[in-house]
Symmetry: D2
Subunit: 351 residues, 4 copies
């Protein structure tokens, strides 16, 4: 009955099988192994981007920070939602990797940047002068930190504003597959066809052990990224450790199947939760994350019975939240089972 982070799930058995298979005999490392060439080819095909440069790293923070540093100068700013992972959960990694670029926090409902807020933020300094931080890049997160999903049209509205102001664009796709499945679109539509320059394509949260791809649609950025990755200590010597995972992940559409499963279980859970009067759903649930307010008493009972999930007690919440409520996040992953969901619902209905 675990609805904590999707990072707490084990890896899917196929990923481990791929790793065990790859672990035979000598091979070149540092990305020169055959498996990496296969991964690159596979991703170029999937994304309909035959010139894309593809790199693997072990963490989402590394993927985001290295990608952002490659497209943002130290004296520039990254426009992102005020509730984005790069702002709240990476201990300043983007600032470290960019050597001190700023994050300009933009507003918007449900953790989605609103076009109006983005436009105003970009045009805050109407006379671009040496005294101001310069406009650099836009970073969008899809699935967002509140479990919502930008539609293609919403993304394009933002990237249009970005592009017409000379910004580069980054997609934090830690839950890329969950967003894609929710939107029923192609990888290309979700990225370069929507004017995204570079994407962090997540594997870890959706069934891998520790692997994220960084995909540049403009290969001219590639060599700088390679140097930044090495210099950041993120170039793995026995690199098949990463490429084997990614091969396994992409094989036979495993990545899509696992995301479908997670999203679908999440919708099942949501449907039942909505029937429970004590549970107030907080944002449109479009992928594998549910946010809700529940009475503190209910939370105490659930926890006592062993239900696991992230929560924020009242003092961490805005003032307009009633004092006896707490906020919870229920994450479904590829490994969430129907019986776990039933168990949770049973607990809830008995409270």
């Amino acid at each position: 009955m675990f609805f904590g982070s999707d990072n707490s799930s084990p890896a899917h058995p196929s990923i481990l099988d791929a790793l065990v298979d790859a672990n035979k005999g000598y091979t070149s490392g540092y990305g020169h192994e055959d498996a990496m060439h296969n991964v690159t080819k596979k991703i170029q095909d999937l994304f309909e981007a035959p010139n894309a440069s593809v790199y693997l790293v072990a963490t989402g923070t590394a993927a985001n920070s290295l990608a952002l540093a490659t497209i943002t100068k130290p004296w520039e700013t990254i426009f992102c939602h005020k509730h984005s992972h790069i702002e709240e959960d990476e201990c300043g990694a983007p600032e470290f990797y960019t050597n001190g670029a700023k994050l300009t926090l933009v507003d918007g409902q449900d953790a989605k940047i609103s076009p109006k807020s983005l436009y105003e933020a970009i045009n805050f300094y109407s006379n671009k002068e040496v005294h101001n931080i310069q406009n650099g890049s836009l970073s969008i997160t899809n699935v967002t930190e509140f479990g919502t999903v930008y539609s293609l049209k919403e993304i394009q509205e933002l990237t249009n504003i970005a592009k017409s102001n000379g910004l580069k664009t980054h997609l934090d796709g830690a839950r890329f597959s969950n967003a894609m499945v929710a939107l029923e679109c192609t990888p290309a539509q979700l990225t370069w066809k929507s004017d995204i320059d570079v994407v962090s394509f997540g594997g870890t949260k959706n069934g891998c052990l520790a692997v994220e791809a960084v995909i540049f649609f403009d290969p001219r950025m590639a060599w700088e990224f390679e140097l930044r990755r090495k210099r950041g200590g993120h170039l793995i010597s026995k690199h098949r450790t990463l490429s084997a995972q990614m091969e396994g992940y992409l094989k036979n559409d495993l990545w899509i199947k696992l995301a479908k499963q997670a999203n679908s279980e999440c919708q099942n859970l949501l449907a039942e939760l909505k029937k429970i009067p004590d549970v107030e759903i907080l944002h449109p649930t479009q992928a594998n994350l549910i946010f809700a307010l529940i009475p503190e008493k209910l939370h105490t009972t659930l926890s006592a019975k062993g239900a696991k999930y992230n929560f924020w007690t009242n003092q961490m919440l805005p003032n307009d939240v009633p004092k006896d409520k707490i906020k919870i996040r229920l994450a479904c992953s590829w490994s969430t089972t129907k019986s776990e969901i039933d168990h949770l619902l049973e607990l809830l209905s008995n409270c």
Copy 2:
């Protein structure tokens, strides 16, 4: 017949078994999982250091750079051998993580820092002033980049000079186990009993997939390291990926057995190589790496027959090396077999 990098070997099956075992059910991540608590306890025991702080990262560059950044201020310098890994093979990662500390290159035979050179380097600026870079830390590599091993006495001579000048001390132990086996000493003797403050304790080159421990003997440095690791993108979410490897590595002395095997095969190979007139051994071979000069013609033949190893052609070598020679490095790893060695020797004797 592979004598290239010890990084090109596969992981030992026990490491993969440990990973597969660990990959069951939900667990906390980010180092809060039980496996990590076990690793910490095990390392504290092995190193006779009950207060040591232990962290895992996926690469040696990350281990070294994060450790050095924790003990060296941006305006200080790191004294290291001019042929050290942190100088030659990390694309400036120590400079990046320290925010621009300097590496002061120190001389010494066979990639070992000589006490005299260290003393002179430390005392180069006799009046410490604000204009000079300040003395910061000493970084020793054991096994060295030339395959030699510092004796305990040699380490202590260097750390005495360092400590009496207020420097912190770091041991790059990417091949820690090979050095320890060569010296027949304890982990404690090789580190804190020889006045080492922090060690990068390698796993990758000796049978793991991708894991290195960073061990601080002074736990007051721990929290800063944790923040630096997170900020560097090196805190793995599904952290059991690392802790399971390290558990498997330390279990039943696997790490020692594998290093013994590598060192011993290396000595076998060395004994035979010495009998071949065309092969000139370059440094005392004390662990699992042999450096030698061979005629270019011999190299051509070996390569044609499929022998793999690192080499440096003549124009990359000092002027006093005869024009028709090239330098080669033969690395033995846990997976080097007697038959591979026999095959190589056979080729050599037939040339």
Copy 3:
């Protein structure tokens, strides 16, 4: 008829005299000259802080950034008003000097941080974890960027919150003297008696050429600051260039006289402006800066007649500002004359 930046004024003749006087014969540099010893002693006396460490630099950006970097770690954040100079006008210098610390923007009327907003910002992450940026320091600007002045009680409310949460405190005193004169308080009251750890004490805007003092009330921070200043290229070799200015500035209370003059002329101007129906004063005018909304037509006329001041056209202003208004800033400096003010008022009354 110049009401643009107080940086556009010339230096006061006494400052130049001091510089000419100091420019005789050989002397030690780098702050070892006698003039600097005098400056230190004088500032220690003025601030009733016999142990304070005193340094001079040539720009306010350097003073602020070096001070903030000394009290804020790279993984920490600086709490400051969203309309502060360090956020809006230094092109990311604080981020550069801290190696990527964050600026957390806090709200409050009239460019003054509100205690409630500060409290909430500091407690945004209720569980301090390695994933979050850490709390670092508070930076207050007095006089604020909107020309208002924090009272001693207001400062103490903020520093109390800061100190009880373990933050260091910085005062950006680019217009320190104007604030002090407005508050009729002592330098000590405005700083360490109000729990300020380090102050940027401005000279440039109030009659010097280019000199700002950085004063640490805790001398243990001094050596690190010295290294940061040197490393930032801000240690002037012919240092009497700075110390002579500061000596002249502090001599015979010149700094106080000039600030009084600027504030007083500003009040004279304000009194008259308030009588003009077309002019809407925007913030309490407490020092030497007036902010106002005026009709665009009026602005066109004034500019045509040669009046100089900073302005923001309508598209740079919040949406609730009427479309035909622009925002202006009138700065009075030590060199603003009654005739300039009369001239401006005459223009205004004739429009």
Copy 4:
């Protein structure tokens, strides 16, 4: 009788006059003042470089570091002499401003880089890989730190090697005028005609208070430099403080006259010193700096009688220097008088 740093001299009266003249009325700042336009035009003319971008900063460390950061990426190295100012006297400022680029120390007699050493250093890593630091830039100092002067031919030999290897080139011209006068060449010959991309053109050591120009011959680098300067806190608000000095410095060839005077007094002193058996001149004296070995006893006497100069006691010197010798540096500046020289020589002849 002062032969310490040329930084200990006062400014030339004409420089102060120019500053006093400029300090009248209101003016734009930040380099937008007329004086700066004049300076740019004047330098473009002097250097026969109508498209050059010209900037002023207050220190040589800032000039060098900002220039080097503009032409060197963080993962690149700067080739410089092991006895260069940027290596020994700037507390790591180049590393700070470049965000951790390396300085590769190159050898050569008399503080001049030898072409052979440069060639070898550039080609140290024959296979450029992601693991190595990348080649970035060459920095030459003229006048060198040992008082010698590169001939035009010597510079061109070095810049040829640099350019044919893709490096950018920087000239540290803290004593540019002394070198130019010694070589009897034009500013253009000493810089862009010898393939120098950017020069730090010193004013401070040759009669100014605190001003150095940075001149880019390729204006495409200009905007990045402007942002770096601002972000480093080196953009002076009352910028006429710098531009007035530089105007005064360049007016009526003052800069050339002062350098001629310093060099010529230095030759006079040298001629007499050579006659004194106890004095052993250490390097060719080609500009305004004399290095010599003298007996410790002589040094004690000279110091007792009030002679001021830089010195290095025996323990700071290489082992082959006799134990009873110390090394001294005698610097002549624009303000060195014949009577000071006579006084010193008299002391020497009486010892």
